[in-house]
């Protein structure tokens, strides 16, 4: 029975299918990325988030990432924009997909302040795309005969993207299965009520039943949507739900391009005929791609056995990590949403309402004098806000301040933090042990014992 199932699955995964879903995914992904960068640029965020700050919060292990000067930053973002455009067009796909992954990921590594699951998702997909033959159909590479056209691939090459999307949704759903979300309808109770001035449905926004409905609907949606999208019979209805869900979140929350990226990405669950129809429409508009592709002979992609083996092992390793990483929080004590140990890279999207304010205190042990560090000296309001609720960032900033005070000639500055955080509207309370000298602590993956426990009252 089980062996039967496995062999069924194997034959399904190795079945030859049309490459159209993958190549259209490339076009749409490239387009969305180009639009995202353009939007980021036009909103002035390059200057706001990367030129203005004097201090950047680096990721653990990525302290070596340098923030380029203003000119270099614009060059970097231009590279992201151009490479995404090239990915969309399928031009020099091998190089452009690598260039997009590297430039985009480098930007994300510049400052942890700007971490978004959405950006992490983009990096992951960009990485996967490097190894997928997405440029071998409906691309400039094919049109210009830079590469051989491929019409058919084994199904698993498309499943890679579907699986990644499925993981994003499913883990986002799993994360919602917690007391605050399900039983208290928090943080949606907080987040919905400011929207009472919305047209038509605004009057519902401060109704508590609506917060419950959205909480539960969101959890069920995230957990089940990948399966409904996979199933032929439910697919169209599921996709309508995808559109409705993401459009609603786009209206209600400031989450930028993410909803639209998900709306176009999930098209990959549709069968090849659907994508071929869209490609036909696109070809009738962009007639350049028309010639020579009208009646196409089937060409299947054939990997050399070793290449295939390596590729499959890489994907398997990747997905094993994708499944393990969200569970790493189990290794740490305490409330995950409070300590945020193992919080990132786990598809915990729009999950908690957290706000804080940190006052740093410095003490000179030689003179025994102490004072408060006035923050706005080094951090932007956005950085200050993001730091206040995340212990690793608080520690990083404390160590930065230590260096600053050493530069003024203080021999061994002691830095403590008096930080107040409120989680899901529970009321602000001390977050970090007020008396721990943070200059004695090095960041690591070990438990941050200096975070005070969240006491539910």
């Amino acid at each position: 029975m089980i062996t039967q199932r496995i062999s069924n699955l194997r034959s399904r995964l190795t079945e030859q299918v049309h490459i159209a879903p993958l190549s259209l995914f490339r076009v749409l992904f490239g387009l969305m990325m180009f639009a995202s960068v353009l939007r980021f640029w036009l909103k002035g965020w390059i200057t706001e988030l990367y030129v203005k700050p004097q201090f950047f919060f680096k990721y653990y292990g990525f302290e070596w990432v340098e923030v380029p000067n203003e000119q270099g930053l614009y060059f970097l973002f231009a590279l992201v924009a151009i490479s995404s455009l090239f990915v969309m067009l399928g031009l020099f796909y091998r190089i452009s997909s690598v260039a997009f992954f590297l430039s985009f990921t480098y930007v994300e590594l510049l400052d942890k302040t700007n971490y978004l699951n959405h950006y992490y998702f983009v990096s992951i997909v960009a990485l996967l795309m490097i190894f997928l033959p997405a440029g071998k159909y409906f691309s400039l590479d094919v049109r210009l005969r830079l590469t051989q056209k491929i019409t058919h691939v084994q199904r698993w090459l498309i499943v890679v993207i579907q699986l990644q999307l499925g993981i994003v949704y499913f883990f986002a759903g799993l994360a919602k299965l917690n007391y605050d979300w399900l039983i208290n309808a928090q943080p949606l109770r907080i987040w919905l009520q400011p929207h009472t001035d919305m047209p038509v449905i605004g009057f519902l926004m401060d109704k508590i039943w609506l917060a419950y409905f959205f909480s539960w609907f969101g959890a069920v949606y995230d957990l089940t949507i990948p399966f409904f999208l996979l199933n032929k019979r439910t697919r169209y209805f599921a996709y309508a739900t995808v559109i409705a869900f993401h459009v609603l979140t786009a209206i209600l929350f400031p989450i930028g391009m993410f909803p639209y990226v998900m709306i176009v990405s999930t098209l990959i669950f549709f069968p090849a005929q659907f994508h071929l129809k869209i490609i036909a429409i696109l070809r009738s508009i962009f007639t350049f791609f028309k010639s020579g592709e009208s009646d196409e002979p089937s060409v299947a992609l054939v990997f050399r056995p070793t290449v295939k083996k390596i590729l499959i092992s890489l994907f398997v390793i990747h997905f094993i990590f994708q499944v393990i990483i969200p569970f790493r929080f189990l290794l740490y004590p305490g409330n995950l949403f409070w300590t945020e140990q193992g919080f990132r890279f786990s598809w915990r999207v729009m999950l908690i309402e957290k706000a804080g304010k940190a006052f740093f205190h410095v003490r000179d042990p030689d003179s025994n004098r102490e004072g408060e560090v006035m923050m706005n000296n080094y951090l932007t309001p956005n950085q200050e806000k993001m730091m206040a609720t995340q212990p690793d960032m608080i520690l990083q900033y404390a160590r930065f301040l230590e260096k600053k005070y050493e530069e003024t000639g203080m021999r061994d500055p002691q830095i403590t933090v008096e930080s107040y955080v409120t989680l899901n509207g529970k009321g602000s309370r001390l977050f970090i042990n007020r008396y721990v000298d943070l200059t004695r602590i090095n960041d690591s993956f070990t438990n941050k014992w200096w975070i005070l426990p969240l006491e539910e009252k």
């Binding site: 909103k43 965020w45 988030l49 978004l116 959405h118 399900l182 039983i183 907080i190 987040w191 009520q193 400011p194 929207h195 009472t196 001035d197 605004g202 009057f203 926004m205 401060d206 109704k207 508590i208 039943w209 539960w216 959890a219 069920v220 957990l223 089940t224 399966f227 439910t234 400031p254 989450i255 930028g256 391009m257 729009m350 309402e353 957290k354 706000a355 804080g356 304010k357 410095v362 000179d364 003179s367 004098r369 102490e370 004072g371 408060e372 560090v373 006035m374 932007t380 309001p381 956005n382 806000k385 206040a388 107040y420 955080v421 409120t422 509207g425 529970k426 009321g427 602000s428 009252k457």
Partner: protein
């Protein structure tokens, strides 16, 4: 696949079950009957707090300038007295508008052109001696506005006779008069511009203010909450913590206090805190308590531990006010002779910052940032 569908269905059923269970809890049923009247709150704050504050400020700036003209044309003890008290009055009125740094006030850079302290006395004197200056650049923010007038009219360890002579017999008397007149005129002009900018028959910013009822970045509530928090931090940091020596490892810096020369720092800080409290309460200067953030927080049932957030904020305002009132005499003396009293006020203000900037903004869904940015 059927199995999966049945799992989904059971999840949905479970959800219905739970939501029904939960309805039994009485406090969960406190769903508000109707939405909070945000436009009513904005109308109240705009019509009954902001515009009257600007009107008051404008009127006091008028008499400030008139007294300045009288003093300049005839510097004497008498005219100096009148001018000094007009200055004090106008400076106090300023405390009631300093929160509203958006719309016309933002365009006019009110905080930066009127109240950057401490002022740069060396630069002021060299500008007076040179008699050749343009005070409109960013570098000039600390040689004008109230702090500069404070210095010119009260000096340091100078009695009134000495000050009058600086404007009558001193070699630079004439230049000094021109300088004083220039900076007071700028205060007066800007007071007129921002007042007109809000007036329905002027720039009519009041209608922009009332009609933006969202809570997102750039909406009236977003701006008001952001500026309320920012201004409160200014009070805590610039007016109290820095003179107290919090930024200088406990070494008091009395000369950094607001109105250092006239010594009215504590009463200015009190006026400022009263103004902040009134914005929070939506209470006019005549003590008419209209819709404010207190009502908003109570309407959405914002909690703070076992009580309401509103109660916590109100009690913190009154604690901060009472601690501030315990500082006697000049702040610049108190930070040296009685730092513990000032420190007590500082601590209460810090707690107030936390309640407003963390708890209130979180409950209202207003983000504290001056950059419109994506979330997760």
């Amino acid at each position: 696949m059927k199995k999966k569908i049945s799992i989904c269905l059971s999840l949905v059923c479970l959800s219905l079950f739970f939501s029904r269970c939960d309805k039994k809890k009485p406090e969960e049923e406190a769903s508000p009957e109707s939405s909070f009247d945000k436009s009513g709150m904005l109308a109240n704050i705009g019509d009954n707090l902001i515009i009257p504050a600007y009107a008051d400020f404008n009127t006091s700036a008028d008499s400030f300038q008139l007294s300045a003209n009288a003093f300049i044309s005839n510097p004497s003890h008498g005219s100096l007295d009148v001018l000094q008290s007009a200055f004090t009055k106008c400076y106090k009125k300023y405390q009631w508008i300093s929160t509203y740094e958006f719309g016309p006030a933002e365009t006019e850079f009110i905080r930066n052109s009127m109240n950057v302290f401490p002022c740069d006395t060396i630069e002021i004197n060299s500008k007076i001696a040179a008699a050749n200056y343009d005070l409109s650049t960013i570098a000039d923010i600390d040689v004008k506005g109230f702090p500069a007038v404070d210095y010119l009219l009260f000096g340091h360890h100078l009695n009134d006779t000495a000050i009058v002579s600086l404007f009558s017999t001193d070699a630079n008397a004439s230049n000094r008069k021109t300088y004083l007149s220039t900076i007071i005129s700028e205060i007066k002009n800007k007071a007129g511009i921002i007042y007109a900018g809000w007036q329905p028959n002027g720039g009519n910013y009041i209608s922009v203010f009332k009609n933006s009822t969202g809570s997102d970045v750039g909406s009236s509530i977003g701006l008001l909450v952001n500026q309320l928090c920012y201004d409160l931090e200014l009070l805590k940091n610039a007016r109290i913590a820095i003179p107290l020596g919090k930024r200088s490892l406990g070494v008091p810096l009395p000369e950094k206090s607001e109105a250092f020369y006239s010594g009215i720092s504590v009463s200015l800080a009190s006026e400022h805190l009263n103004s902040l409290e009134n914005v929070y309460l939506g209470r006019s200067k005549q003590n008419v308590d209209g819709l404010g953030f207190d009502n908003y927080l109570n309407h959405i049932d914002a909690r703070y531990f076992s009580g309401t957030l509103d109660a916590a904020i109100k009690s913190k305002f009154s604690a901060a006010k009472s601690k501030l009132s315990l500082i006697t005499g000049r702040l610049s003396d108190a930070v040296i002779s009685n730092p513990a009293t000032v420190d007590a006020a500082y601590m209460e203000l810090q707690q107030l910052v936390v309640l407003l900037k963390v708890d209130m903004t979180s409950a209202l869904g207003v983000s504290i940032t001056y950059v419109d940015n994506d979330g997760d």
